[in-house]
Amino acid sequence: MTNAPHPCATPLVTVENLAVRFVSSDMDVPVVNGVSFSLRQGEVLCLLGESGSGKSVTMRALMRLLPPTARLGGRIEVDGIDVINLPAKQLSRIRGPLISMIFQEPLTALDPVYTIGQQISEAVRQHEGVGRDDAMRRALELLELVQVPSAKRRLAAYPHELSGGLRQRAMIALALSCRPKLLLADEPTTALDATVQVQVLLLLRELQRELGMATIFVTHDLGVACEVADHVAVMYAGRFVETGSITDIMDAPAHPYTQGLLNSTVSESLRNQDLASIPGAPPDLTALPPGCAFAPRCARHTPACDVGVPPLRGEAGHQSRCIFPPDAAIPVAEASALSSAA
């Protein structure tokens, strides 16, 4: 039923009310608290948030790459497959050919004792059942696809022999080796230098466009989101607090947290002036406030904020989890910038 005649009309990924808790004998930490979204073929969604906001856990849940202490709730459907209830033995059906992932640290994600060629061709042979030589040929094609210079020589290189940028390209080649429909990228450029970061971002953007994959990008960097994203979901304490297109979020951020993030981003206009930082620190996930999780740090906090978690509201394309209408929020953000500068 998911093989509808118009693949663009039906979403490739549907996530409904995803909840992830990490449970051990002495702890029960809710990390993701009801995340819902859908993503169509060829779209790029950026999960934006600070450490501990649940963005990486959300993404790993899509591939069931979480430790055994994780308890998943809700529904994840990727290309018609119910990921949460998939038996463990069948996970290899989705990992690789359907969904694959690029990690932040290529040196720890790649196996140090096999060459790049061996690692890529192994994945190809496992999933596509081709012979050794064909797989190696495909690995070479992939390295050329990700624009590795003198690709033939690099096939025989071990990960430690490559520079950071080349290693990340090799990992992208590995992730693309089984032609995934959904590519997950977990801070893929955070560990790279500025001049290399922009090269890898451009490469990912180009590949995504060429291969028409759906992509979910996790980042904490607004600048990176601006370069790659179609849609953005801002996460805070395990929930989406604002969703919208990247232009909506940059032009008219609706949630006070998003506004705070934009204001605290250093830019030249703020020289010799205090930055409008968000006071306080992210909440303890084991003791979330009963209402809006951002309320304790929010300049416009009222008692009404503490009554129940506010729903996402706004038009379908641009929603925010705040009880105040977005237009009223902007003057207050400026006021808070002024008061902290004083």
Binding site: G164, Q199, I246, L270, I330
Partner: protein, 375 residues
């Protein structure tokens, strides 16, 4: 001589609080030796080659030229930003300044006194005047000491009584925004990253230094917390009259906080000058590429072509002549023959550049980041 009490802890002015036993505020006038015109630091010919064991074909030892002849000065009260990609030697430079590693060559003159020289300043004296805050806030604190003990440790071993050191520790914690009654007895693992970095700043200030080296000190923090710590650093600098050396790979943060900038590439300085001059009109092709690699912050004006291809070359065998020539879009034969010296950029004396063919001052960076979306 090593464990003498640090010089003069008296209040700076009448407006400052009364001198308590644990007061860490310093009379800067009294400790200023060379006068306002004397630079705080003059570094010349600083060099460090790390021997990595192997030998090349000619029988020469294989060395990493981490810092290869670096010259710069830091004026009193300014913030010098040092930028560059990983492996360019910015952190090694910081460690050499502190003498955490011994330089192979070069001299460091701190406020007129040469460091580690006959009749100069001893290393322990230098470290009392210059302190460092590292990137990893957790690894740089002793996990078995409470934060009060961590901050009090330096003052205690340099001559204060236990009670005085404790009092100073508490007033410092208060100064960096950590309420002592709530925080002083906590251990590092009980604090968030931003709070731990505040403790590290307090600990660095405990020796009443005049210079603070901040080596990627805000890089590991979340954006909202980074802004808090940057505000704190600016406030402390104004209150205590500090001089900062601010090392970061984040070009926007360096732009925000620095007065002057030093751009490094493969162990050498390629350009330095006032922050506005460098960001508005970089003269070195590398600086220009680095600045245009910043994400645009505007989804409508995305970067279309990468300003540079490839990664920085290996510092074991840097290219001959100009080290940037292998990635430089305008390299010419002369660039491979002789290394360019740092020279004043045409039309400006405070702005120096090491390039045979510097860019003209009208060549601007194509897309400076847009101002915050709400401005």
């Amino acid at each position: 001589m090593i464990y003498t009490r640090p010089a003069a802890f008296t209040p700076r002015s009448a407006a400052a609080p009364q001198a308590e036993p644990g007061d860490f505020r310093v009379d800067l006038q009294e400790r200023d030796r060379g006068g306002p015109a004397q630079p705080m630091l003059i570094v010349s010919g600083l060099k460090k080659h790390f021997d990595i064991g192997g030998r090349s074909i000619g029988g020469q030892r294989t060395v990493v030229r981490a810092v290869d002849g670096v010259d710069f000065t830091v004026r009193k009260g300014e913030t010098l930003g040092i930028v560059g990609e990983s492996g360019c030697g910015k952190s090694t430079t910081a460690r050499l300044l502190m003498h955490l590693i011994q330089p192979d060559a070069g001299s460091i003159i701190f406020d007129g006194d040469e460091v580690n020289a006959v009749r100069g300043m001893s290393i322990s004296e230098l470290r009392r005047n210059m302190q460092m805050v590292f990137q990893d806030s957790y690894a740089s604190l002793n996990p078995r000491l409470t934060i009060r003990e961590s901050v009090a440790y330096g003052p205690r071993v340099t001559g204060l009584s236990a009670a005085q050191a404790r009092a100073r520790s508490e007033s410092l914690l208060e100064m960096v925004g950590l309420e002592p009654s709530n925080f002083a007895n906590r251990y590092p693992h009980e604090l968030s990253g931003g709070q731990r970095q505040r403790v590290n700043i307090a600990r660095a200030l405990a020796m009443a230094p005049r210079v603070l080296i901040l080596d990627e000190s805000v890089s590991a923090l979340d954006k909202s917390v980074e802004a808090q710590v940057l505000n704190l650093l600016r406030r402390l600098k104004a209150e205590l009259g500090l001089t900062y050396i601010f090392i970061s790979h984040d070009l926007n943060v360096v732009h925000y906080i620095s007065d002057r900038v030093l751009v490094m590439y493969l162990g050498q300085v390629v350009e330095s000058g006032p922050v506005d001059a460098i960001y508005a009109a970089p003269r070195h092709p590398y600086t220009r590429a680095l600045l245009s690699s910043r994400p645009s912050m505007d989804p409508r004006r995305r970067i279309e072509t990468a300003p540079l291809s490839g990664d920085p070359p290996n510092p074991i065998n840097p290219p001959s002549g100009c080290r940037f020539r292998t990635r430089c879009p305008q390299a010419r034969p002369q660039c491979g023959q002789e290394p360019p010296a740092l020279a004043p950029a045409p039309g400006s004396d405070s702005h120096v550049v090491a390039c045979h063919f510097p860019l003209s001052s009208s060549a601007t960076v194509p897309s400076p980041p847009a101002k915050g979306a709400l401005q």
